[in-house]
Each structure stands twice: as structure tokens, then as C-alpha cells.
């Protein structure tokens, strides 16, 4: 609950949420942005505002653009990245044995395996862009690829 600490904690509802606690939860999940809380923009909260921005890895500060590269020569289409990516997991449908990637891909799905190779469909929903807090540090696709084909870079 690190994020909550830095909110104004007045439960003023200006953000459209019933409480600051609710706002902080949504903030963590990347559903709302720091700027969606009007009081925070006031000068007296400047310090907290900056702290929050830093915690969440502010987009303005990050001039560089996220790139996820998949090396076609190395990839053998094992599909581990597809299964392990938490975004895929959240939106993919349940199957008899848990959650499985969908074909044709669900609209949030980041990876799919086609023609024996992994393909990055879109990057918008990657947790490194969307999520807050520690979730933003996600790089499991890179960590677990057995052929070391996935590289997360900022260029």
C-alpha cells in the first residue's frame, strides 16, 4: 500500500472513486493515472505527486520507448512467453486445464505463436507500460524464454 501513503487521503471523490484507497488500487493496476486526482496537482501536494510519479515510473521522464524484440533465429515457438505473460493470462479464456491463449488472439494478447515462431502482436498492454508499482517491473517473458530469444529494451 505504498501508493496510498502518498495520496491526499481526504476521500474527496473528485477522482470519481469513492475513496482514496479505491483510487490507489486502480492506480496500482494502471486503470487510472496520477493526474486523475485533481487535489494532487495542487502545489501543496507537489512532493507526494513527484514521489508517486517516480514510484510508477513516470512516462514523461521516460523519453525512451519500450521495445520487445523476439529473435526469429533463436525462437522455437515453445509458447512459454505466451503462457507466462500476465496480460495474456488475465484476458485469455479458461480451458479444461487452466487458462490458454486464444486463437484468433484476444484483443489484449501480446504474443502468439504462428508458423512455429513467436510474434509480438502489440505492445500497448504490456505491464511495463500499463501497470504500476512492482508489476511495472515485469520481464518474465524475457526471463523464462528457454532460447533467450526475447529482449526487452528501451530505445
Amino acid at each position: 500500500m505504498e501508493l496510498y501513503k502518498f495520496l491526499p487521503k481526504t476521500n474527496c471523490k473528485k477522482c470519481g472513486k469513492p475513496t482514496c484507497m479505491a483510487f490507489s488500487l486502480d492506480l496500482l493496476q494502471g486503470k487510472v493515472k496520477v493526474d486523475d486526482c485533481p487535489p494532487l496537482l495542487e502545489p501543496k501536494y507537489k512532493k507526494q505527486y513527484d514521489a508517486l510519479k517516480e514510484l510508477l515510473g513516470s512516462e514523461e521522464g521516460q523519453q525512451k520507448e519500450l521495445k520487445i524484440n523476439i529473435d526469429d533465429k533463436l525462437c522455437d515457438g515453445c509458447g512459454i512467453c505466451v503462457t507466462v505473460c500476465p496480460v495474456n493470462a488475465r484476458y485469455c479464456p479458461s480451458s479444461l486445464s487452466g487458462k490458454a491463449p486464444d486463437y484468433p488472439p484476444e484483443k489484449h494478447q501480446l504474443f502468439q505463436v504462428i508458423g512455429g515462431k513467436c510474434e509480438l502482436l502489440k505492445i500497448e498492454y504490456c505491464r511495463r507500460l500499463e501497470a504500476g508499482g512492482r508489476e511495472r517491473e515485469c520481464r518474465v517473458c524475457e526471463t523464462y524464454c528457454p532460447r533467450e530469444a526475447v529482449k526487452i529494451e528501451y530505445v
Binding site: G77, L96, S97, G98, Y103, G116, T143, P146, R147
Partner: protein, 435 residues
């Protein structure tokens, strides 16, 4: 959208989407590279689409009549034919293969016998459970790879057993601990996380590890302080805790542990260790999964069991099943055969030179869909449709679950399926007998 089964390896992934117009395959989704290549085999450059006979040392295209006649001639002139392969064909074809062996008094065996047949029998006698992929996905918490390297052979296995999120726990990788025992740091090691246990063992020292675990089972205190077989004491402690604490562990055995040793039987000792752990465990158990290569590796045993009540090799005399101590290897080694019918495999590449050179000496009929090292030395080559793509049938997955394969496109050149071709040979021999 209809999903097809991939016949690229024994995992038989049944979630593959194939786009095709009935003649060509345009897109394969969900299959790994190995599976995709299986689909590409349809039009590979080494595809054989018409029958071949060796004439003056060269393979020449001939008519089906000429080729089958030649094959029948070889079979008729042979009194102890050897039938081998059958793990890249459907169970239906395996069944006809056994019928044919009975008819021609042959010795028949599948690729599985040189790999895993024995382990299954031993496991059954010790009461060790086999487990299924679904069960590991849903309930598994400990996965041990011993001498197995799925990242190179069964590409999606780790994805399924380790990463998939199960139905009951809804978590995947997080709750599963992976242990790998191997002398070489293989590609499978790369999926390890911080809580996992990589054990690089000194070559040929597996037995020391197993014996130590057997002796010290459940008593962490008496592990030798210098470790065992090059494995550190603390890692051994962790291994013991995992083994004895797992609720639903599975040990996946690969080629590495099936290797013979002059003085002991590694697999047997390993299975006894599992039995010991399972007996002492109160709430959990460790079960077994065998990793095969060819897509219907497991099928032959099931077919042989259901038709003749024995698993593995079969030998026939006077059209009756006889008891035999011979194995495929001893048969070839003693040159106790005078022709061979090879179905869907490449023994010239797979077997040690001392054996392949003996196979090469005798007339060889190859039933396969591709040129391989074996086709280079065959007398007759009878091409067939590719099972799982150009013809259907039943196959057993590596966890012994039967899975239906479908025909997706028509075979090139109207090639017969393995089953049809073997049936035809059987009929031709039958007719000849009554003449």
C-alpha cells in the same frame, strides 16, 4: 474454430489451428517450430511420392505393382524377417503390422523398446503411478527432469507442465518447483527461477546420488558434508525436502537415465527410490512421466497388449506367438534375421554403427514418407501419407492418453496411409499363400 492435433512429437498438442483448403496448408497457429516443420514435411524436398526399387545400385521410380511385387518377393524369400519402427504411424497401422508379422513369422518391435518399454513394466510392478499432462498442469507442485531435456525434444512440454495455469490453483509457474538433474547445462536449465534447483551431476554418477537418497531418505542430517556426485550438500538438502514434501510431484525421465550400465540398473534403483518416498509420504506422492520422441511412441505397447496380451516385442513361429528372450538389439547383433521391413523410422541414422551395418547387409523394405539415411540403403521404398496430416488415426500421447489424429489435406499423389499399405501387403501375401 476447429483445432487439430500436431503429430510433431509425442506431446500431441491438440490445440493447433490449421488453415487449409483441403489441398494445401496455408497457416499453422499454435504449433512450435518442430510441429510447424512436421506440417511442412508435406512438401519437403526429400518427400517420396512414388515407389522406388534399387536397380544397379540406384533407386529408380517404378509402378506400385512392380514395387509391391518386389517387396512380396523379398518377404517370401525371407524366413526370419525383422519388422521395426512403428512409432511414427497410427495405432491402426501398428495393429496391421503385428498381423503381418504373425502372417510372415517375423519379429516385430517398435522404437519404444530401445527407449522406454522396460521402465513402464518396472513402474507397474512397483506401483508407481503414471501421471497425465492435465494433472500436472492442474495440481503439480514439483517437477523433476532427470536426464531429460524437453527444450530440445518436446518443445512445448515445459510450457504446459510448468507455466500453464491450472484449473484449481489458478497459478502456474509460481507454485511449481523445477529440479533438473543433468551432467550438461542444457537449454531446459534456462527456464529456472530463483526457487528452482539446478543440479549438475558428474557424468555417470547418478547412481551415487540415488543410493545416497535411498539411504538417507527423510533424514537430512546425514548427508555427507562434501556432497555427492559433484552436488553441494545444501542442494542435496533442498532436494530431499522437495522430494519428501511435494504434494503432487512428477519425475520426467529422458534418454539420460535409460542408458545401460554394466554393474547396475539405474532406472530400477531410481524407481525403488520413488516407491520408498511414496510409502513414507503422508499426503503427497511422486509419479512418473516418460518423455518419448516419435509421436506414437507409446502406442505400440498398447496395441500389442490389447491384441496379444504382451507389451513390447513380439515374435511369431508357425503363425503363433512364441516366448522369446531376444530383443531387437540381440536379434540384429547376432544377425538372427534375413530381411527387414522398416516402418516410419531411420535406423541407419539412429542405431549404433555396429547394428546399422548389419541391417544394411540384408534386404531392406522401407515404408516411410521421406528420404533418410535408411532410404539410401533400402532395396524397396514404399511411400505413404503422413499420419496426422494426410491421414488420420489414433495415437498415444507420452502420458499414455489416446488422442485422435485427423486428416487435414489429401495426400500428395494419392499415397496410401501406412495402414492401407500394410493391409495391402498382408492381402497380397495371403493370396499368394492360397495359390
Amino acid at each position: 474454430m476447429k483445432r487439430f492435433t500436431c503429430s510433431g512429437c509425442s506431446l500431441l498438442c491438440d490445440d493447433i489451428i490449421v488453415q487449409s483448403d483441403g489441398l494445401f496448408i496455408s497457416e499453422v497457429m499454435g504449433a512450435c517450430l518442430k510441429g510447424k516443420e512436421r506440417f511442412d514435411q508435406v512438401s519437403a524436398k526429400n518427400r517420396i511420392t512414388s515407389p522406388l526399387i534399387r536397380k544397379d545400385g540406384e533407386l529408380k521410380e517404378v509402378s506400385w505393382d512392380e514395387a509391391t511385387k518386389k517387396a512380396i518377393e523379398i518377404i517370401k524369400n525371407s524366413s526370419i524377417p525383422l519388422l521395426y519402427g512403428f512409432s511414427n504411424v497410427s495405432c491402426e497401422a501398428q495393429d496391421v503390422g503385428i498381423k503381418l508379422a504373425q502372417k510372415i513369422n517375423g519379429f516385430i518391435d517398435s522404437n519404444a523398446s530401445i527407449c522406454q518399454g522396460k521402465i513402464l513394466n518396472k513402474a507397474k510392478s512397483l506401483g508407481i503411478n503414471l501421471t497425465t499432462i492435465t494433472e500436472i498442469i492442474n495440481k503439480g507442485d514439483l517437477i523433476i527432469l532427470w536426464g531429460a531435456n524437453p527444450a530440445e525434444t518436446v518443445p512445448r512440454l515445459l510450457n504446459k507442465v510448468l507455466f500453464s495455469r491450472g484449473k484449481f490453483r489458478m497459478t502456474g509457474r509460481e507454485i511449481k518447483t523445477l529440479v533438473i538433474v543433468d551432467p550438461i547445462k542444457t537449454a531446459s536449465f534456462r527456464v529456472m527461477g530463483v526457487r528452482d534447483l539446478p543440479l549438475i551431476i558428474e557424468p555417470n554418477k547418478d547412481i551415487d546420488l540415488i543410493r545416497m537418497l535411498k539411504e538417507e531418505c527423510c533424514s537430512v542430517d546425514s548427508i555427507p558434508s562434501q556432497g555427492v556426485a559433484g552436488i553441494d550438500k545444501n542442494d542435496l538438502k533442498r532436494l530431499l525436502l522437495h522430494l519428501t514434501g511435494a504434494e503432487n510431484g512428477v519425475i520426467i525421465l529422458g534418454q539420460g537415465v535409460i542408458q545401460p550400465h554394466p554393474d547396475y540398473n539405474l532406472v530400477e534403483e531410481l524407481l525403488e527410490l520413488l516407491q520408498m518416498i511414496n510409502e513414507r509420504q503422508e499426503k503427497g506422492r511422486i509419479s512418473l512421466l516418460l518423455m518419448g520422441g516419435h509421436f506414437n511412441m507409446a502406442g505400440f505397447d498398447h496395441v500389442a497388449l490389447s491384441s496379444f496380451g504382451v507389451s513390447g516385442k513380439l515374435e511369431f513361429k508357425h503363425n503363433q506367438l512364441i516366448k522369446t528372450d531376444d530383443t531387437l538389439v540381440s536379434k540384429i547383433e547376432k544377425e538372427n534375421f534375413d530381411s527387414s521391413i522398416i516402418v516410419g523410422t531411420d535406423p541407419i541414422s539412429h542405431l549404433p554403427h555396429s547394428l546399422s551395418s548389419k541391417i544394411a547387409k540384408k534386404p531392406l523394405i522401407l515404408i516411410d514418407n521421406h528420404h533418410t539415411a535408411t532410404s539410401h540403403i533400402a532395396e524397396v521404398v514404399l511411400p505413404t501419407a503422413i499420419t496426422g496430416i494426410e491421414s488420420g488415426g489414433l495415437a498415444y500421447r507420452l502420458d499414455q492418453v489416446p488422442i485422435e489424429l485427423n486428416k487435414i489435406i489429401n495426400p500428395s499423389n494419392n499415397l496410401p496411409s501406412d495402414e492401407e499399405l500394410l493391409n495391402q501387403l498382408y492381402r497380397l501375401i495371403n493370396q499368394g499363400g492360397s495359390e
